[in-house]
Amino acid sequence: MSDLDDIRLDGLLATSARRHPSRPALTARGRTWTYAELDRAVDGLARQLRSAGLETGDRVGVLAPKGPEAVLGIYAALRAGAVVAPLDVADPPVRTAHMVRGAGISLLLASDRSLEGCRRAAAEAGAGPEPDEGALDHGLHRIRTLAPADRPAPLPAPTDRGGYVLFTSGSTGRPKGVLLSHANVAHFALWAAAELGLTETDRVGSQAALTFDLTTFDLFSTAAAGACAVLMPDVLRAFPRDVVGWLHDQRITAFYAVPSLYQGMLERGGIAQDFPASLRVAAFAGEPFAPRPLERYLHLLGDVPFYNLYGPTETNVCTYSRVPAGWTADQEITIGRAVDGVVVVDVLGEDGLPTDGTGEIHVAGATVFQGYLQDGTLTDPTRTVRFRDGVARRAYATGDIGRITADGRVFLRGRGDTQVKRRGHRIDLLDVESAVLALPRVTAAAVVAKDGAHHGEIWAYVQGGGEGGAAAEQSSEDITEEITEDILAGLRGLLPLRMLPDRVVLAAALPVNARGKVDRRALAARTD
């Protein structure tokens, strides 16, 4: 136990409000809150939530576009003692409802703009025709999804007093809720604030969705340092040119994003011609950075530190490396060493023993999550593993394949399962496949990540799916197009845009390998 184990995420905000009451804490939609103002607003909202019946350990979903309401809702629910799950307004209501039911969420918070969508998701989750609903301060609304008598019992300690849930793509077609304790996130947030040297004069640019683990840095490292979190409007995320303009306009000093966005800013955003002079530190995570663009960035950044952070949502960031200024594209890139004093990282071979060769990356320590919330239950996938120092620890097997050098640097070698990264988003191919198989008339399907010319794309090979009674005058080409469009339309109702397959291919039969299983490798290599 360290003295950090009692730390609360909303406490980071309260501490900075005492230390720097008049410093800016949050800038969003043209308005700035000081630490004192933000903390007072959070206090008031937390009181409103308690008087509306929220009890310690209840699970609350925050379904609001990225903006002040979402941040206030998250902090207020944390302060009220809830386990808080940020949710994405762009997700189909069916998927949101899976999360609500699966994580035992009894209350949803919405902004004016997301209220309608929130009602749809609540209805889809079985909240009943007229759920208990009410307006809160600062443009927030609450909708009850479970009657007080029906809400689940609090989770085991330490999350009986609140926590944080981030949903990721699971292999069963239902999103998995990654349950983190206050301390799991706080250990990361404090380490990152210190390592990146954040101070109260920093302006931290927050570009990712609040459902993405990158934003725990934006919110909580920023609060720990007394810096200002500057929220980028959601609509700019798809426009690298706008992101560059926003970095300039908002005089961002610290920025954390996925390589896809950095590359977009380089290729289409004009960042090389007009580099934001205010930037003092930058970091990336979520997927490997292509070597050439990375080398370009190191030139552009000059003395500005550029960090490579690695870690699945389940462990927060667990290894890091400051990319050396002289690094060139012909060198291998490391995800760095374990975060000192917080986690221990090792690579284990198929025999379950530490190996100097290639194996699965295992993580143990203060930032490792509590377990998955799925189908209403908490499952802890960690197990006790003996690391190479002889100490047995509660460890999470990441599914990432890599090797570790004698001096502790880790090099990634891909995945051992069906999880892929596309444009920085973590997608389990089986999650997409489950959605395809849930469509009427689909009899078989295989969803694969393509090799070769279509590398990085996700294709769905589908058997069946047709209406059966296509009009006689239609050409087979027209019918094929109609069926694939119908499949995509069906998927649109089940999956977020970021998870849709790039292409749907109708197949009379799926190829099988010698063991009689669908030959995914053959499908991945096929050019059609």
Partner: protein, 87 residues
């Protein structure tokens, strides 16, 4: 690509519509970004389709949120580009 309606059709073909959503409901003033209809991939597909089907090359500096907030906003940019090319 003679009218803003043609542009609506082109944009509509690059959106993955859900069941029960009517693609033809796209109107010149539909708030594309606010309604979350476009993502980075569909935006690049629209840019590519404008080039392939209408020979209009949208410069990088014009691929910004303000120009994609509605079909009408994008149509105004296309008209400006064509007027510039005709001059």
């Amino acid at each position: 690509m003679n009218t803003v309606e043609d542009l609506c059709t082109l944009i509509s073909s690059k959106i993955t519509w859900g069941r029960g959503e009517e693609p033809q409901q796209l109107r010149p003033d539909t708030p594309l970004l606010e309604q979350g209809l476009l993502d980075s991939l569909s935006i690049m597909q629209i840019v590519a389709a404008l080039d392939a089907r209408a020979g209009i090359v949208l410069p990088d500096a014009e691929i910004v949120a303000a120009n994609f907030r509605s079909p009408q906003a994008l149509w105004s940019v296309l008209e400006d580009i064509r007027a510039g090319a005709a001059r």
